[in-house]
Symmetry: C2
Subunit: 449 residues, 2 copies
């Protein structure tokens, strides 16, 4: 076998007679001993690191300066079954077809060891080569649709993704996986929930909080779980599949309209707000936790809506917010406003005359709560009743971000105020529930173990 490394890394490896895919052992200067398969790194310009695939399936990048000893254990490593599968290009007969629509993000990125920053892979195949077990359950095809960090997603990108999903499902895919940056993954998941009308197969957004060439990556389990859910799961909705705990044991499938990224960096950053996750997925099983869900069908036709009104704004209220702040709506030609009020859905009463003007002018004003967890109730306090009287649309236990996406979708369908109000208050995709379990809240007690 050849050796794909360059520069100093190459020198170090050559001196020991080590080639790509050899089984080697390293003693790290921290005293840790690591053994694993040397992964080829042809694409990597950096010559200061080598990458090992450990027995547990993780890949670990190791700075060569930190290596005390390096030793070749075996050249004659047995080629494992799954590696043979990778080599084969033609689809395996009988395995379900699952497209992986790549949009960008950490899951399709690697660490640039020179700067410590994260950059997109140029060839997304690198990703799948590291998770050979997927080839045993699905014929995964790559669809490199775009390559953007998710903070740069717009409603127009959501429509583009929805159209691609529509094409794939209507042409026989068992499910669709979308590799996506985690920053705004929950916005896209909510958007696809609404845009994909008549959905009858699973649509799964998946990402990574740590890139796949890092030892702590969550990409492997997340992507494997996503494929498993896409081919075996009974749920035909737009979902997010990401780690369910800090350990690498299981993932949750969270309904797109209930997901929110609630931690900057943990692997289990996504929470299912106001309802349990739809399912818990391990390497061996799928356990359904959701009470009501849209079931997978053999036959059907999904239609992707192609309009979203992007002149809609989301404002989290704060003490001291001035009425003139809301002038931007008219000044900048916004056509809808979602407020994330405090508590049960309140804003300062001094804003109410301005809100009344907006709703009179045909601009829908939707009220949600910045508490995120729990349910709006504008009937308890005077401020709430005044807001209702001013025309505010209260939307139960819907998340602010989901209300924003839904309003964009609804305004793409109609400009009739009564119809907007009716649609916003109607549960279309599980974004509003009538029953709210009091247990589905981060318990203050257990969090502080």
């Amino acid at each position: 076998m050849p050796l794909s490394y360059r520069g100093r890394a190459r020198e170090l490896l050559l001196a020991k007679g080590i080639e790509d895919y050899n089984f080697i052992r390293i003693i790290h200067k921290d005293g840790v001993e690591l053994s694993g398969i040397l992964i080829p790194r042809a694409e990597l310009e950096d010559d200061k690191h080598i990458v090992l695939k450990l027995e547990n399936g993780y890949n670990v990048g190791i700075a060569i300066d930190s290596i005390l000893e390096i030793e070749l254990l075996s050249k004659q490593r047995e080629i494992r079954k799954e590696e043979k599968l990778i080599a084969r290009k033609a689809p395996i007969k009988g395995l379900p077809r699952v497209p992986l629509i790549v949009t960008g993000g950490t899951i399709t990125s690697k660490v640039d060891y020179a700067t410590g920053a994260v950059k997109p892979y140029e060839k997304p195949e690198e990703l799948l080569d590291l998770i050979p077990e997927i080839s045993e359950i699905a014929n995964l095809s790559y669809i490199p649709l775009m390559s953007i960090f998710s903070e740069n997603m717009t409603p127009q990108h959501w429509i583009k993704i929805a159209k691609e999903v529509e094409k794939e499902i209507n042409s026989g895919s068992e499910g669709v996986i979308i590799a996506h940056g985690t920053d705004t993954m929950h916005f896209t998941a909510a958007a696809l929930s609404f845009l994909l009308e008549g959905l009858f197969k699973p649509v799964i957004l998946v990402g990574a909080q740590r890139s796949i060439d890092r030892p702590s990556t969550d990409a492997v389990l997340n992507l494997f779980s996503a494929v498993k859910m896409a081919v075996e799961g009974p749920i035909a909705e737009s979902m997010i599949v990401m780690h369910g705990s800090p350990s690498d044991e299981y993932t949750y499938a969270i309904r797109g309209v209930r997901a929110r990224k609630m931690h900057t960096s943990r692997r289990d950053a996504f929470l299912s707000v106001n309802e349990p996750p739809l399912a818990k997925i391990t390497r061996k099983s799928i356990e359904i936790l959701g009470r009501n869900y849209n079931k997978r069908q053999k036959e059907g036709e999904v239609r992707a809506a192609d309009k979203m009104q992007d002149r809609v704004a989301l404002i989290y209220s704060w003490p001291g917010i001035a009425p003139d702040f809301l002038d931007f709506v008219v000044d900048k030609g916004y056509l809808g406003l979602v407020l994330a009020g405090t508590g049960l859905g309140h804003v300062p009463t001094r804003l109410i005359p301005k809100i009344r003007e907006l709703t009179k002018d045909g601009i829908p004003v939707v009220m949600t709560s910045q508490c995120l967890f729990g349910r709006m109730n504008l009937n308890v306090y005077e401020t709430g009743r005044l807001l209702l009287d001013a025309g505010v649309i209260s939307v139960g236990d819907m998340l602010p971000e989901v209300a924003l996406v839904k309003l964009m979708y609804v305004l793409g369908k109609t400009t009739d105020m009564n119809e907007i109000r009716r649609m916003m208050k109607e549960n279309l995709r599980g974004e509003i529930s009538n029953f709210l379990s009091i247990t589905v809240f981060p318990p203050g007690d257990v969090s502080y173990v």
Copy 2:
């Protein structure tokens, strides 16, 4: 004893010979049997409910239409020790002085049974009469400073409260309690953290998610815990004391700059974000959980800052947010902007030129994360590095709402950009930590029991 009830309630009670403070039993149409003391309701115009004080200390309002049977158990009820204490007007010698500054909110409100809505008490003494045990540990004095729902609080109200706290502490109070609506309690708690310079006694915000005349009220335990923490606790900071679990067993004292209301209606709605609560308080004990805190001193002098810049805005970013949206900052004369970006602290790259213009014009732009939990890091991804280059001030693991309040405070002190940057990035009151415990996050697993 007289009977204070009116109309239909009065008829029902008179028919059984029942008077105020009698010990009575009721069989509810739901099959529940309740016995307790009939609480006088002179202030209540409603004639459709009676209120019982149960053995467990709770007050429960009962619709007379739901009463199947009502029975007088005892007229000769023994007057309990704490009720004698209430009767005495003069302060008890030796008990510490603790003022209760009343600002409004549910804790000083009652249900208007006619409409189901909540209205403020006209006489806040009604509140304390229901929690006689407080009289045993402190001489509580009422300071009815204002009577507003907390959504109507402004930075000017915060200063007014801070000035009152300053006066009380510098004149010998052992601690100060502030009754406050829960909607924006965490904003006020953060504001007091910054405004009260040289604080050497506890300052405790307390509220209720359910009003005190409802059986499920949290007001009793919250207020009792607040008084206990004010007179016995070792921590001299601005804190929130509210339920720590859905049960009525303990409260948490949460650092003002770490608290956030995270549920619309649960009694344990406030979470301590990115660090454990400072203390757990039961009826019998105070358990300190915080690692670092400002210690109570016998002597000292607190000074309340008297300036806050209220032309500061908070914007939670969303996919599709347009650069022209940020024009409001200049158009409306805002002097500071806090962004709650996605993930590690990102906004769409198309906003970056506008952000650069703002910082060049001397308007500080502070970056936080809408994930709420976790820590900013603008060095990982390209977008983050571009934001830093554009002059954005990244503030570690500070909450967006706390960054807003802090920026108002800092801009009240200085308009020098270097000084603003230095102060925003410096840990002044525990709002930024260097060490972030990964366990302090709502665990996805346990939430879904």
